[in-house]
């Protein structure tokens, strides 16, 4: 079941279409990695889904409710978000910021729960320190702590790794995995650190120039990105038989004459084997794509 769906969602600023008929599907209990270049529309989509901005046209559904359904306000209680910058009051301490957040969300935490929350983000030893004296990373950690106050079912995290040191990034990654796996929290996360996204995302949405290029599960992406040897031949049947004899078990045949082999076969052996089977080799290519390569290819194809 999808927790969020968008239907031809559009957003214009000064008559310029920045979100162009977007259709997204974010499954419940998934970690949805949102990938796109700067200015591609990731943040705008998050702002639309969190209610900070109104769509110019199109609709979206959150928890099964349309964006213009008044009952959606109640559902937003289960949402937390860090969009663009951390929303903190610099003249208050970390605990006071949490208390302020509690008051307007109507949540009452105990002193122990507040301590626990701060411990979770490694801010337990800064008692009395005002947020204005925090480093960028500390602010980001506190923003994450605030995002956890309401025990959310859905989190929007826009570049949450910005400002975090490698240790902080790893901790955030572990925390998100824990929240997702233990509590089933759905996370929509954008990040420029695609290698980190790869470690946590269960599905992806690729966006460029306000358009969704593709939505794909992590499993599908893994398959498409794993190391492969692509051969293009004139006789598919013969080639398939020959490759099987050579020991190929994991491969995909495309009707256009391409076979993508995922087994670890030597190029030399494949060439000899196909030649021996009387198959003309029209092309051969070895590749291993990263998420980044995959995205860049998508953008190129999109252009």
């Amino acid at each position: 079941m999808d927790l969020i769906t968008t239907n031809e969602l559009c957003k214009s600023y000064n008559k310029k279409l920045v979100i162009d008929h977007v259709n997204m599907h974010i499954p419940e209990s998934s970690i949805y990695g949102f990938v796109g270049e700067n200015g591609s529309g990731k943040t705008t989509i998050m702002r639309l889904l969190t209610g900070l901005a109104e769509p110019t046209s199109g609709t979206y559904e959150l928890f099964g409710l349309k964006n213009n359904d008044p009952r959606i306000y109640d559902k937003r209680k289960y949402i937390s978000a860090i969009v663009e910058t951390a929303s903190l009051i610099p003249t208050l301490t970390a605990k006071q910021n949490i208390r302020y957040y509690e008051l307007y969300t109507g949540i009452e935490l105990t002193e122990e729960q507040r301590d626990e929350l701060l411990t979770k983000v490694h801010l337990h030893d800064i008692e009395g320190k005002k947020v204005r004296n925090f480093s960028l990373g500390m602010r980001q950690r506190l923003a994450i702590a605030l995002a956890l106050v309401n025990n959310p079912k859905l989190m929007f995290l826009d570049e949450p790794m910005n400002g975090l040191d490698p240790e902080g990034i790893a901790e955030l990654r572990d925390l998100l995995i824990e929240l997702n796996q233990k509590d089933g929290i759905t996370v929509l996360i954008s990040s420029h650190i695609l290698s980190e996204l790869e470690k946590i995302a269960s599905c992806y949405g690729f966006i460029s120039h306000g358009k969704i290029l593709e939505e794909i599960t992590a499993q599908e992406l893994k398959e498409r990105c794993r190391k492969s040897l692509m051969v293009k031949v004139d006789k598919l049947d013969k080639a398939e038989k020959a490759l099987k004899l050579l020991g190929a078990l994991d491969y995909k045949v495309s009707p256009n004459g391409e076979i993508k082999i995922y087994d670890n076969l030597k190029i030399k052996d494949v060439v000899v084997c196909l030649d021996a089977a009387g198959v003309e080799l029209l092309g051969i290519n070895s590749s291993e794509e990263s998420v980044e390569d995959y995205y860049l290819n998508l953008v190129r194809e999109g252009k």
């Binding site: 969190t50 559902k75 209680k77 949402i79 937390s80 969009v83 929303s87 309401n150």
Partner: protein
Amino acid sequence: MSRLLKAFFFKISKDITFRITLIIGGGVAILSVLLFFLLDQLIDLEGVRLLTGHGMLITAFSPAQNYGIAIPINVVSFIVLEFTQGTIRNKIIAGHSKFKIYASLYISGLILAASLLFIYVGTLTLFGTIFGGFDINVATMLGTSGMGAYATAEYIIKFVIHALLAYTTIVSYAVFIATTFRSMGPSIPLVFVAIFGLFFIGMIYGSMVIGIARAEWQSYSNTIEELAKEPGNELAIAAIEENMAEMKPTYDSMLTVENILKCVDPLYSVSYTETYMVGVGENTKTFATMDNLGFYGGIASNLAYSAAFFFGGACLFKKRDVK
């Protein structure tokens, strides 16, 4: 909504700027009392006292004087910070409707303004009363009326009602401007221009245009009344009446403009004290007054402006995206 207001009270209780402004308010009030007390000791104003409780009450309520202008600036600053710190964003994400958020900002602005206003007015009136008494039979300084006017209990009540409504309009405007521009840059000058603009329109027209004409007219009227008490003054009365007849068309048109101002300028009755004179020569006594048009027209215009800024601001806030 109550949750948003609870959060506001928490935030304001921890706000050092707010505390400092409160202390400054109290401090400025005490210093003003000391200054007027000293002036009363040094200068003999022939029965007129600068420092009285009721005089301080009326002067303190004036929106464009001293501390009065600090109030909308504090309101603007408080609201702009909600935007720049991103707390508005979190409130929307948490599921509060934009109307409720705007309403909570509006109420917060009113509470903030009332706290700052009452500490100043309260201190000034309290110390003014302690050192100068609260006797309405004593002529005193009343806002822009100059020195030596008497204030009746009715006038004081009417003025306080007007001043409270004027501050409501000012806060409504400050909230509207702050939520529309969302930064201190344009908001502060716009608040300054509007308050001082309206204040000076009232003060200049009231004191220097209609005020002078009214004083002249009343002086003629009172003189005729005095002359009529004794026989043989017919010629003098006729001469004054001729002057009055010449003056009447201009005076009437001035009164018409004033009547319009009373109904459209929400700060008119708090920026200018209308007075009337009793007696002639050395026996002249000046009383502050507020006629029915000024009183009800002012109430209506303040309520209309406040409602327009509130609903206009809420609609605009609802329509616009939050960054």
